[in-house]
């Protein structure tokens, strides 16, 4: 199976682990990810104002390029996924945005939301299948109590993201079971980490992330996994009383599949 792939800005820099372990694992699982040749930054957050069209165009370009390549588009970073999926939804359902974006960009073929935006986790669940991943695990995380941290962007808005139940998700817990670990359910798993507020006000974000980490620790987690570079950063910089290791879910996937090497960063 071949998919177009949108890594996003952070996966080329600070979150390179999230990217390399995903690519390596995909190969073993029979998935080919073809990086879009000329992708631009998604902007990190979906523009909510009705009169903002220009800030959605980089996403439209990626979506149209994926359509032209003939593949659905896979994303990995929670933020890229959120922005691209919401803009794709606009191009399908909002005539005001669709007509203005197409008129401005004047592409050879108008883009009308023809392709699907798929998160790497959805690929694992719906295309590969968690049962098949389980069969390929050579180094299971037996006995490890792992807290899935969804944050906000993977799940919301639920009616657009349509990845899982936004209030009682299980895709990451099912992933944890597939690699042999024991998922830990805690209340703060789908509440915000403090997000971009850390740029201006570190204490504010650290306090928000602290609530997440302490809640996960109180429920028995001994590590946290995430799909979002900013969540990982905020959780690591939190003011929590407990310190838990935070890693990208793709790193655990690669490790379970025997694809993590000694000299990996």
């Amino acid at each position: 199976m071949i998919y177009s792939y949108f890594p996003g800005c952070t996966l080329k820099n600070k979150a390179i682990d999230l990217d390399i372990y995903a690519r390596r694992s995909a190969e073993l699982l029979g998935i080919t990810l073809e990086e879009l040749p000329e992708w631009q930054c998604c902007g990190g957050v979906y523009p909510l104002a009705k009169d903002k069209i220009a800030t959605k165009l980089s996403s439209v370009r990626a979506l149209a390029a994926s359509r032209d390549a003939g593949h659905d588009l896979v994303t990995l970073c929670s933020a890229c996924h959120n922005v691209l999926k919401q803009v794709n939804n606009d191009m399908r359902t909002d005539e005001y945005i669709r007509s203005r974006a197409n008129n401005y960009m004047a592409p050879d073929a108008e883009y009308n939301g023809e392709i699907n935006v798929i998160h790497y986790l959805e690929l694992l669940r719906d295309t590969v299948g968690f049962e098949n991943i389980k069969k390929k695990v050579v180094k299971p995380f037996t006995g490890r109590k792992i807290g899935a941290y969804y944050g906000c962007l993977l799940l919301r808005p639920g009616k657009v993201m349509q990845m899982d139940d936004p209030e009682n998700p299980k895709i990451l817990e099912d992933f944890i079971r597939a690699i042999g670990g024991e998922p830990v359910i805690y209340a703060q798993r789908n509440e915000c980490c403090g997000g971009y507020a850390t740029v201006e006000d570190k204490a504010y974000a650290a306090s928000r992330a602290g609530k997440v980490v302490d809640n996960a620790a109180a429920c028995g987690a001994d590590m946290l996994i995430t799909a979002c570079p900013l969540c990982l950063y905020n959780l690591n910089k939190s003011n929590a009383e407990n310190k838990l290791p935070v890693v990208y879910f793709t790193e655990l996937l690669a490790e379970a599949l025997g694809l993590k090497e000694e000299n990996d960063v």
Binding site: T10, L48, C77, L153, P166, L230, Y233
Partner: protein, 129 residues
């Protein structure tokens, strides 16, 4: 009224929100992770925009405390989606004042070398026009 006044209709147009759908349940503020940081809370944005009490919102630091986490958008039982009002007032505020809330010149002094690029692009999207 001077031409610099931001009116209720501007905010309703930019946000696409219909404040009249609100049934005052308060769920948006109850679920808001930024609640303690905000002078005006999500349910107050809805009520104040509905009443045309825009200026107090435009002047409030609350505009830059919203985390855009979509909690109030997803959990509103009436699809009022208060975060869209916060975004609309924030945009209107920055457009009127004529300069961005966060400037690139300010970044080197506050930059943590570990910070992911995603944080910066997101902050610029939220704090500038």
């Amino acid at each position: 009224m001077s031409e610099n006044n931001i009116c209720r209709e501007d905010i309703l147009r930019i946000s696409g929100v219909d404040t009249r759908k609100c049934m005052r349940c308060g769920k948006c503020s109850a679920t808001c992770p930024a609640y303690d940081e905000m002078e005006y809370h999500p349910h107050q944005f809805v009520n104040m925009v509905e009443n045309g009490d825009i200026e107090a919102l435009v002047e409030s630091p609350s505009l830059f405390k919203c985390l855009s986490c979509f909690a109030c958008i997803d959990r509103c039982p009436r699809q009022v989606e208060p975060a869209k009002l916060v975004e609309a007032v924030r945009s209107a505020c920055i457009r009127r004042q004529g300069h961005n809330h966060l400037s690139a010149d300010a970044i080197p002094a506050i930059l943590d070398p570990d910070i992911p690029q995603q944080a910066l692009v997101s902050a610029f999207r939220k704090y500038s026009e």
